[in-house]
Amino acid sequence: MELELLVQRFQEKDRKAFEKLYEMYHINIHGVIHTIVRDKELAEELAQDVFIKIWNNADSYNSTKGRFFTWILNIARNTAIDELRSRNYKNLKKNLSADYFVGILERPDSEETEAPDTKGLKKLVKGLKEKCIELIELLYFKGYTQKDASEELKIPLGTVKTRNRNCISQLRDNIDLEWI
């Protein structure tokens, strides 16, 4: 309920409400964009652009279309992908899929000082199969459709939905474990 009220006030151009939403989500948006562009500072700039777009297009959000986070998640993905496109990446799709979380996770420990949060990430995806991590990344962070993801990961289209559910369930279990 509190979130709905916050979103409603933000849509009435309440600056305080917008600031609260920013505090709630900006690190998530940064994380999503960073997964795509793989540049910490660029990701910060783009995340700010995303929130400028959110503020300027507050009217266009409608709760019947989905969750507020899903709305801004979509804006973040598009902004990051547009950025890649503008930099003339020749094969965007290949570029998007070439480097998964798995890539970050498999880096040697010496690089961990530069990205301290990989520890948290490692904990979250602990026990998840590589295909699972990749599927979550494609569907949530990179905006792949079920069909695109099934082609990319070479799994039957009909199984994408249930497999994704299982992967998210494992993720949820890991989060629950963190609280213990």
Partner: protein, 267 residues
């Protein structure tokens, strides 16, 4: 509806990912309102994605502070107003003034050209008028000369050459005497211009005894172009003489100022 089955189908995960159609989205959001279990499940899925995306961020710098964001939002709004409106307004204003200035200069130039042409045309009209006058004068002069010429070649004309005397040895004149019309044409081409206040006077002479009779003055000698003067002469003249006299002429000739003299040949 079997809520368990609905939840386990995986549709809620896709709902959070934003991968459903508009109709499906609407359906899910309605179920979420009427079924708390579904709402709870959606929030849990979203929480897991939030946790993962948060973990994917390598950390934020000062650049991501809120005041930086407001600076961009407010600055952008201002800069947009400045960038879009002002130059456009200026451009229109400048081009308007520039067009007006060009038009003014153009009008001024055309006005000047027109004035010049008018002046030129007036000059030409004046010139034409002058030329017409000259032609008229020339025609008149030609007629006069023609008449004079005709008079002089008349068979009844007696020609009397008047030669220069002591005062003016180089002077000469001619008298053309038409006895039938009692007229004498004096050709004074060979006389010097009289000094101011003086005038030439023409005399008809009888020789025995010597009797001079004035037949007229050569008035306006300086301004007469062909220097031919027509005088009346009803006398039985035997000679003609021209003397220089004070303006208005004299009763008797001043013989010391006799310029030319010539006798009429006996016919």
């Amino acid at each position: 509806m079997d809520i368990e089955k609905y939840i386990s189908s995986g549709i809620l995960e896709l709902y959070v990912a934003g991968l459903l159609t508009e109709a499906e989205n609407k359906e899910v959001s309605e179920y979420a309102k009427s079924h708390p279990e579904i709402e709870r499940e959606i929030r849990a899925i979203e929480a897991s994605v939030l946790a993962l995306s948060k973990a994917a961020s390598p950390g934020l710098s000062e650049k991501s502070k809120l005041d930086q964001l407001w600076l961009k939002i407010d600055g952008n709004d201002k800069s947009r107003v400045v960038e879009l409106r002002q130059p456009r307004r200026n451009w229109f204003a400048y081009s308007g003034w520039a067009a007006a200035a060009v038009l003014l200069v153009g009008l001024w130039w055309v006005y000047n050209q027109n004035q010049e042409l008018r002046t030129d045309m007036q000059t030409r009209v004046d010139e034409v008028q002058q030329l017409e006058n000259q032609i008229e004068e020339a025609r008149y002069s030609l007629t006069q000369t023609q008449e004079l010429f005709n008079s002089l070649r008349d068979k009844d004309v007696t020609i009397v050459p008047l030669s220069g005397q002591e005062v003016a040895p180089d002077a000469y004149a001619r008298a053309y005497w038409k006895k039938d019309t009692q007229q004498v044409y004096i050709d004074a081409q060979g006389l010097p211009e009289p000094p101011p206040g003086m005038v030439y006077q023409v005399w008809s002479l009888k020789l025995s005894p010597l009797t001079p009779t004035s037949i007229g003055l050569l008035d306006s000698f300086a301004t007469d172009d062909n220097k031919v003067f027509v005088l009346e002469n009803a006398n039985e003249s035997e000679a003609f003489g021209i003397t220089l006299e004070p303006a208005g002429g004299s009763e008797t000739p001043t013989l010391e100022q006799l310029y030319t003299l010539g006798a009429v040949a006996a016919s």
